[in-house]
């Protein structure tokens, strides 16, 4: 074995063993992680539109792209049509909005008239005890409920922010405002389309 091989082989062996160990761990935990993600998403969808019994994800990429253009700078992750017994009752828009500690994943629920039914935070990285107040102070998310159909960015901005957590509050406000724009420009015209 020449001297280069003496260095290469140990590194290679280490990497192979590590990769094997990791793929094993991954295959053991992957179903559980997928389940946790699904549960978390389901919980937030249910939280914003409690009456709905099914959520159909909008798969049409052209619609998503259009929505993305309207929502900018907030990013659209998914849009769902909520139904109750097959009848459309509203929309859930899952977006990623910039907070203080990075992206905040927020789900905004709208009824068929475009009025907000609820806002739920799926994940965020805000300062615990400070930025996280957007979630732990119930009045904050509740104030977004019942904004009238066709609400504007100004309507959202007029609502209160949490003092000391302005950027976290803005993350949520931008998400709600983006959902309003997406409704006004796109979802409004999709009314009644089921699946």
């Amino acid at each position: 074995m020449n001297s280069a091989m003496k260095l290469i082989v140990p590194v290679l062996v280490t990497c192979v063993v590590a990769a094997t160990g990791l793929s094993l761990t991954y295959s053991l935990t992957a179903p559980k992680i997928a389940e946790q993600d699904r549960l978390a998403e389901e919980r937030s969808l249910k939280a914003v539109l409690p009456e709905a019994d099914a959520f159909g994800c909008i798969e049409d990429t052209a619609v998503i792209e259009q929505a993305q253009a309207v929502a900018d700078p907030v990013q659209i992750i998914d849009m769902f049509q909520a139904t109750e017994g097959g009848k459309p009752i509203g929309w859930a828009v899952k977006v990623s909005s910039r907070g203080y500690g990075g992206p905040m994943i927020v789900v905004v629920g709208l009824d068929t008239s475009g009025s907000t039914t609820g806002v739920s935070i799926l994940s965020m990285n805000e300062t615990p005890g400070l930025g996280t107040k957007v979630q732990t102070e119930p009045w904050f998310l509740e104030q977004f409920i019942g904004l009238p159909g066709g609400y504007t960015d100004g309507d959202v901005r007029a609502l209160d922010a949490i003092s000391g957590s302005t950027r976290s509050s803005n993350g949520i406000r931008n998400a709600v405002a983006a959902a309003g724009r997406v409704y006004a420009e796109i979802l409004f015209e999709m009314e009644g389309v089921s699946e």
Binding site: P10, I33, G102
Partner: protein, 209 residues
Amino acid sequence: MSEWMRVFRQGLSVENPLTVLMIGLCATLAVSTQFQNALFMGLAVIFVLTMSNVLVSLFRRVIPDQVRIPIFIVVIASFVTIVDLVMKAYVPSVYQVLGIWIPLIVVNCIILGRAEAFAYRNGVGLSIADGLGMGTGYWIVIALLAVIRELFGTGKIVWFESTLISLPAGYAPPSLLLLFPGAFFVFAFMIAGARLINERFEARKEGAA
């Protein structure tokens, strides 16, 4: 055995990674805003540190000197990824808050530092003592720091949605404690405290000898 205990206790006291060696502070100051998260962070560090110490010390004779750092990093990164996946699967609420800090344990100087400075030069038994001692030393300090910051910064300590202790309602918590400057202030006092304790111990030992 006494050698084992000596190495273990060094990690807690005179070689404490946080208050004495002052390595791996970045994640510590960031995560110590909540007692619950600090506990899990500490557990993750103990696990990764001890396991990587064991592996590095087991294979120290076959790891070529020139490529030891890449090998250490692969070993450490593997254990960190395991912790990452397991936390995601079983304690998602904690994972959500710790987020990026778990993967960042890979570049935490404590772990690479111990692999390099201790495990690469010592036997498995002592390396376990070093990993557990350093890990526990880290755990105690980060937990204490988090208790102080959470209790006085938010007025209460929360453990999975339930409140463990809360200060009287009249207390207006200064949010400064939860931000980075607050972390530095509190940590400075803890370093001073640790110094005092270590000096006392040294003095007593000298007196006895």
